[in-house]
């Protein structure tokens, strides 16, 4: 149903009691920095934005290997004020969507988010948990648009 290995992660979270779910989310959040961009590396698409009132700075870096069936890889830079849930979702998405195509990412439904986070944590002012997915979809959309424009040029 979901691209990459997202299905198995969703399945894992859905069967965890709330306390273990929180611990695992914190563990994912702790590892978010592993998915930061590599200095000096070239990416097919870079999109860095700062929103001081909501989410701080989030940078999306996309690489697509067309020789490998359009396999995508995301790197994400996160400002210091980015919420823990958003950091956790960054780890989960970078890991689970690795290898998915830009079109698969664009088509990925967002309904897995509450399945992972749990109803208790999806609430007012925690909606930034959807933020990284929406930014990744945005990057995939721009990548595909540029690719189509290149093909028709």
């Amino acid at each position: 149903m979901y691209p990459g290995t997202l299905d198995s992660i969703v399945d894992l979270f859905e069967h965890l009691p709330d306390e273990e779910k929180r611990s695992l989310l914190i563990s994912y959040a702790d590892s978010a920095d592993k998915y930061g961009p590599t200095e000096g590396a070239n990416y097919d698409l870079e999109d860095i934005r700062k929103d001081e009132e909501c989410t701080d700075t989030v940078g999306i870096f996309l690489t697509v290997d067309e020789a490998e069936g359009s396999a995508s890889e995301f790197k994400v830079s996160l400002g210091g004020e980015v919420q823990t849930l958003t950091r956790a979702m960054t780890s989960i998405l970078c890991r689970s969507l690795a290898g998915a195509t830009p079109q698969e990412i664009l088509d990925c439904p967002a309904d897995f988010v509450p399945k992972i986070i749990g109803a208790e944590l999806v609430r007012q002012r925690s909606q930034t948990v959807y933020y990284v997915l929406s930014r990744m979809k945005g990057a995939a959309k721009v990548y595909l648009a540029r690719k189509r424009a290149g093909e028709t040029a």
Partner: protein
């Protein structure tokens, strides 16, 4: 400038503690350190040793009606966090202390005024590399008598009061970002559930974003700087009846704290219904500047 020098120039220096003071007084008697955040998992990630967590939704807001918890629920919250009416509650948190100021304000609604903020909140404590832990403190329940009633009238404004205030052309401070004030945006990009049907601001309100009172390290600006912003530029007078508002009441709690305790204005109310109420209310008068 030292923290002591900076604090002594405020109207109520006793309402602030520095991170340095707190680090040296983590076990101060009759004191409870409370973390309040926007980030729901931040306390679980790490916090100041001995701090408890009070959540703005789960602990302070009624589950059904848009209002604060009952006096009974407030007393129970204090009891499970080891707080008595004599306890000095020291609040700190993320987002430049938005939610710490909000929690402090809500505590005052129930008459608990023995409270302080940590200047700079979580950001400064962490930037200074001070001790953090994931260990939750073991708390012995206290006894907290149920407050008679909430003292809403003194520091809280409701819609009809905010409307009368605007009609009387009394000072009203809109602490949201310029885009929200002008009406260019009807919700912040990632807070769509706080959207409104109309954008703009309350007629006569002056724009003064909460962040003008804060330094980049999340500390408050000096008394001199704050007087320039609010007393000179906004022309707020000592005897003025002032209402501050934002979107849901947390950023305006920050400004309420600045006006009340750092500058000493005596009549400041937080309109916590704020723009999510005003911008959705049928026939609310609205000004736009776009």
């Amino acid at each position: 400038m030292s923290d002591d020098t900076k604090f002594s120039a405020y109207a109520h220096p006793e309402k602030l503690v520095s991170t340095e003071w707190l680090a040296a007084n983590l076990d101060a008697p009759n004191t409870r350190i409370v973390e309040s955040n926007e980030d729901i998992l931040l306390y679980d990630t790490n916090h100041i040793p001995g701090a408890v967590h009070i959540d703005w939704i789960a602990d302070l807001n009624d589950k059904t009606i848009r209002d604060y918890v009952s006096p009974e629920a407030f007393a129970a919250l204090c009891e499970r966090n080891g707080i008595t009416p004599d306890t000095t509650v020291i609040f700190y948190g993320d987002k430049s202390n938005w939610w710490a100021a909000y929690a402090l304000w809500v505590f005052e609604l129930y008459g608990h005024t023995n409270s302080k903020l940590v200047d700079g909140g979580s950001a400064k404590w962490k930037a200074e590399g001070r001790e953090l832990t994931r260990e939750k403190p073991s708390i012995t329940n206290s006894t907290y008598p149920v407050p008679g009633k909430r003292d809403d009238a003194r520091i809280r404004a409701f819609y009809h009061e905010a409307l009368a205030h605007a009609e009387a052309k009394k000072p009203m401070v809109d602490v949201r970002s310029p885009g929200e004030f002008s009406g260019a945006v009807t919700h912040m990009p990632e807070y769509p559930q706080e959207g409104v049907l109309r954008g703009g601001h309350i007629p006569g309100a002056k724009s003064c974003p909460w962040s003008t009172a804060a330094n980049p390290d999340a500390t408050f600006k000096t008394a001199e700087e704050l007087r320039k912003i609010y007393t000179e530029d906004l022309a707020l007078g000592d005897a003025d009846d002032i209402v501050a508002y934002c979107r849901i009441g947390e950023r305006s709690s920050h400004t309420w704290f600045v006006l009340t305790y750092l500058l000493g204005y005596k009549n400041v109310r937080n309109y916590d219904g704020s723009w999510t109420e005003w911008g959705n209310m049928v026939r609310s008068p609205i000004e736009k500047s776009v």
